[in-house]
């Protein structure tokens, strides 16, 4: 059995008398991939920040590569001990080349004391060859896909002799293929004795790649176990602290009103992404859009919402043709869009929950006071109401959304759009990067909307979610409808996966 490269013992940390970590032990073995799981707020990121020297523990000690530490006072100290972080938000300079980034601040100089790009590129190539990564060292980072950027970043960390890597939701913005090459790289690193901590909400991935799992809940360690002793069900139970409502076993009662077409899209064509798409959405129906990244799913939603300009084709709401050139026009036809990227498209991070929440209602002139002013009192009441109904965890509606967890931020976006009482709700990856509890709440909201006779179009990269809540799944391939599957014809997750991959390969 390999020995421990990190052991954290009895780590305790409080902020303002609130204990965030309570006597937590954590051990990482050499050459191990160790998944760290828990709901948002369970203490994962605090534990990792202690390991990275961002926070200092109140009690406890850490042994890293045989040396004992009470704390790391700064990220630099942690890095010197061999700990590196692969950031969710990437820390590369976009205008420099891959090689220049990898050797940033440690540039190799020639005998005249000038930068030697050639030598940097040659050494970068050596690193890449060793890791079997196929990236051109001369490529400019801004032109790389997200996946390649991440691989570059990992290489940069390893080139600085990192022995321990922390991955925080690394696949959140990767395509299927990119994720697979990330996993390949991780396995390769494992063979080289690199130890990795892996934080993710995606269970399937974890069971594919991790060796052991540690679950945190409410600041305590609940369990640490070999993956072979665990099942997904068991892990979810540990995370939630109760029996999980299994996502794919929920009863689905169809509420589709076949005779009432809410939204009809006819031969839609855009300059970007959408080539020829037609479909109908009925009252009480949930339609899932499946497809690989870049298949045109997101672009379709943006076209319906007036963000992606439409070249040809028609959009009909309740039988009436509408022209959507701006989101405002779409909103007036009772359409709402929960966008893909909540931090960029969904929220103004430095504004409060309330100020984010009221924007669509202001635009629709539903919060007017004497026609000139904003009725803030009603805005407050409504914000309070939605914070309560959607169980958004925050001490006040005046709190900046930047300080909320990912799941709560997503709920603010949902609240903001539910407040407009939309008939047609377009949801683009609403469950990405949120914890299991919140995920399940969001899926319930979707079904509730259908029950109330609304129509929902739902994009998710997690196929079991699509199967769980959708009446029909439309597979989009290359900007066109590839096939339409009725719920009872959906052949199960594995098969759906294959259909998608097939769609991707031929497209």
């Amino acid at each position: 059995m390999s020995s421990a490269i990190i052991s954290m013992e009895g780590i305790t940390k409080s902020f303002n008398n609130i204990t965030v970590l309570n006597d937590v032990d954590f051990e990482l073995r050499e050459g191990e991939i160790h998944a760290l799981l828990g709901e948002n707020g369970a203490g994962k990121s605090t534990l990792m920040k202690i390991l990275r020297g961002v926070y200092q523990p109140d009690h406890g000690k850490m042994i890293v590569q045989g040396k004992s530490y009470d704390r790391f006072n700064s990220p630099n100290e942690a890095r010197a001990a061999g700990i590196s972080m692969v950031f969710q938000e990437f820390s590369l300079v976009p205008t420099l080349t891959v090689a220049q980034n990898i050797f940033l601040t440690r540039e190799i100089k020639n005998r005249f004391g000038l930068l030697d790009d050639k030598e940097c590129e040659r050494r970068t190539k050596v690193f890449f060859d060793e890791l079997e990564v196929d990236i051109d060292p001369q490529a400019v980072v801004s032109q790389l896909s997200t996946g390649y950027r991440q691989l570059t970043e990992i290489t940069a960390a390893l080139s600085q002799e990192a022995r321990i890597l922390i991955f925080d939701e690394p696949t959140a913005s990767l395509t299927q293929t990119e994720s697979l090459s990330l996993f390949r790289l991780m396995r390769r690193l494992k063979e080289k004795g690199i130890s990795m901590i892996y934080i993710s909400h995606r269970m399937e991935e974890i069971f594919k790649i991790a060796d052991r799992i540690t679950v945190l809940r409410d600041g305590r360690r609940i369990s640490t176990d070999e993956i072979s002793n665990l099942t997904i069900q068991k892990v979810i139970e540990n995370i939630l602290g109760r029996k999980a409502e299994a996502i794919d076993s929920r009863e689905l009662v169809s509420t589709v009103q076949q005779d009432q077409v809410l939204l009809e899209v006819k031969n839609l064509k855009c300059n970007r992404g959408v080539k020829d798409i037609s479909f109908q959405l009925h009252r009480g129906e949930v339609i899932g859009l499946a497809g690989l990244m870049g298949s045109g799913r997101t672009e379709l939603m943006q076209a319906i919402f007036g963000i992606n300009p439409i070249k040809e084709g028609d959009i009909l709401v309740k039988g009436k043709s509408i022209k959507v050139k701006t989101p405002e026009e779409s909103m007036k036809s009772d359409i709402a869009l929960i966008p893909e990227d909540r931090r960029v498209q969904g929220l103004i991070l430095d504004h409060s929950i309330r100020d984010n929440f009221i924007l669509p209602m202001i635009q629709l002139k539903r919060l007017a006071n004497r026609n000139i002013f904003v009725d803030y009192r009603r805005g407050n009441d409504l914000a309070e109401y939605y914070v309560k109904t959607l169980k958004i965890r925050s001490d006040s509606i005046e709190k900046m959304v930047r300080f909320l967890s990912g799941g709560n931020q997503q709920k603010v976006v949902i609240a903001k759009w539910l407040s407009t009482k939309p008939e047609i709700l377009l949801m683009d990856e609403p469950t990405a990067g949120v914890d299991i509890g919140t995920k399940s709440e969001i899926l319930n909201i979707i079904r509730d909307l259908a029950k109330q006779g609304k129509g929902v179009v739902f994009i998710s990269s997690e196929l079991q979610e699509l199967i769980a809540v959708c009446d029909r799944v439309i597979v989009i391939k290359n900007g066109q409808v590839d096939q339409v599957l009725n719920r009872y014809d959906i052949p199960g997750e594995e098969r759906l996966h294959q259909i998608l991959q097939g769609a991707g390969n031929s497209g």
């Binding site: 950031f87 969904g346 100020d355 669509p360 930047r402």
Partner: protein, 327 residues
Amino acid sequence: MAEKKISPNLSESKRSFFKRFYWRDYVVYITFIIVFITFSATLAQSGFLSSNNLLNIMRQSAIISVMAVAMTFVLATAEIDLSVGSVAGLASVVTAMVIGKFGLVPGILGGLCTGLLVGFINGTLVTRIGIPSFLVTLGMQGITTGAAMWVTNTAPIPISNSTYVYVFGSGNFGPIPSLVFWTVIALVIGHVVLRSTPYGRQALATGGNEVAARYSGINTKRIKLYTFIIMSTVASLAGMLYAGRMQSGRYQWGQGDELSVIAAVVLGGTSMFGGKGTIIGTIIGAILIGLINNGLILMGLSASQQMIVRGAIIILAVALTGRKVQN
């Protein structure tokens, strides 16, 4: 980069009091009080506290205050307008000339229309063609100054209409100098518009995150266009106040004011990156600049020394307010 991002968290537990107090938002008020007390203590003999001098300060900062109110909206939408001083000069000239030829009301309208037109051009170039506002308004600074110099042959145009002069800058409404009256009007309207109207909230949203604002249905281009039009029109009003006070229109009125105006707004806690700002802070910022100018004169500093001290105080105060909240 990593360290920069996370360092504010380091102090989370220790500084929770300050965090809750958001003391950066109040720097302008604290600075104001400190400067006021210092001057009161050291310059009492020179008549700093006399009601005449205090009114003087108000009068001197009035025109900057009026423009700073509109500039708050410009910065809140994450844009900038460097043409305000020159627009004021052009408007003073236009008003003076039109009053001379056609009388009072056409003169006032002519002045305001100058701003309307310039603002429309600025806003259209920024929103439709996508030229950064910094460049558009820098160019417009040259164009408007040049135009004002050209039509007047660089000579001042006297205004003899006594009603105009009285209302715009030289007279008093009861005990209140008309300049102060205009400042109060700008303050009240600006405050209400920013705080309580859809436009104000949407301007802040546009500056806070333009993409998210657009996804919320806001026509961000229209909001920015309106903002530029308001800014230039208010700058014209400022030019007309100069004209009233000086009883003439001249291209030099207002020249270089853009710097004091922007400094006042930023001192007042409005973010240069958009999304955040208050009108009260802006007005206090403008008066603070007037206060410093006045105090330095009473201290007997030479013009060159005044410039140095003024520059240093502004940099210091902005350094204290200017840092963006990071996560």
